[in-house]
């Protein structure tokens, strides 16, 4: 069942979109109930679904045991669906029962790339979040890029 426009409008990620734009993307966004302990994304796996939290609490963990938690409505999980190489950078697990909006990664990417107005508005919201999270997975990458002798 697609999400209603008012719900989308109330989320920070979509608040700058016009009613027409929201109507356009609403059919591809589906609410999902989440159970405690449910795995949403797995680090290193192809990023196929983008999530926006409506209710609940989530933990995103990285290599070397680093992690942060998400507790707010509108928090996003799975931005790797729209950024190359389209692999999840972290493992997201629900800490409590909750509800999320799920977007198919291909559809989401198509809208962002095909509709410049929507793409600009959404990316202006997502980019700062990516910048905040970069330190977590860039440390992973930096370690992976080291020669084997130095990683031991």
């Amino acid at each position: 069942m697609p999400t209603d426009i008012q719900t989308l409008k109330s989320l920070d990620l979509f608040e700058e979109l016009t009613s027409e734009e929201l109507t356009q993307i609403a059919p591809m966004i589906h609410p999902m109930k989440i159970s405690e302990g449910e795995l949403l994304t797995q680090r290193g796996e192809p990023a196929t679904v983008f999530y926006v939290a409506l209710k609940g609490n989530f933990i995103i963990s990285f290599k070397d045991g680093q992690a942060f938690t998400l507790h707010n409505r509108g928090d996003i999980i799975g931005w790797s669906t729209i950024v190359t190489p389209f692999l999840y950078t972290g493992t997201a697990v629900a800490l409590t029962d909750g509800e999320v909006l799920a977007l198919n990664g291909d559809d989401f990417l198509q809208v962002i790339q095909g509709e410049s107005s929507i793409g600009d508005k959404i990316m202006s919201k997502i980019n700062p979040i990516i910048a905040e999270r970069v330190p977590y997975f860039s440390r992973d990458k930096a370690r992976r890029d080291l020669p084997p002798a130095e990683t031991e």
């Binding site: 405690e36 302990g37 609490n57 933990i59 963990s61 990285f62 070397d64 045991g65 680093q66 992690a67 942060f68 938690t69 507790h71 493992t91 697990v93 629900a94 800490l95 409590t96 330190p135 977590y136």
Partner: protein, 136 residues
């Protein structure tokens, strides 16, 4: 005058006792210093971490006081025992993993509760610590 009589006449016994005391005190102090030397070396090797912790400690003083409800006290104790094996700061996913392996009830929700009550606080580097009021 020779022998013990001469020693006694020229404060030899006192000098000997003072000498022995000085030597043994010196040896005792030296052994204490050597026994604690590893702490100094450890501090020197990890001085950067120490100053980081110091800064975080200053920030932690700004944390609100917390009161752990009676029903949570046993939970906190259980999770602290698990976290002790990880050291501090500790990895939250590893604590979660330990809790699951140990068969604790609703580990995800419990950790979320500990986070929300500020019993467990992020260190800003992706790892977590116990609130000072708990760990102290």
């Amino acid at each position: 005058m020779t022998g013990l009589e001469a020693i006694a006449a020229h404060n030899g016994w006192s000098i000997a006792i003072v000498g022995v005391t000085i030597v043994f005190t010196g040896l005792a102090m030296l052994s204490i210093i050597l026994s604690q030397l590893y702490k100094v070396l450890d501090f020197w090797e990890n001085r950067d971490d120490f100053f980081k912790r110091l800064k975080r400690g200053d920030a932690a003083e700004d944390l609100p006081d917390i009161t752990v409800s009676p029903d949570m006290q046993e939970t906190v104790r259980q999770y602290q025992m698990l976290a002790d094996r990880l050291g501090e700061p500790f990895s939250l996913p590893k604590l979660l993993d330990f809790a699951q392996k140990c068969g604790l009830v609703n580990p995800h929700a419990t950790i979320n509760r500990l986070l929300k009550q500020n019993v467990i606080v992020p260190d800003g580097e992706g790892y977590y610590r116990w609130h000072q009021a708990i760990s102290g």
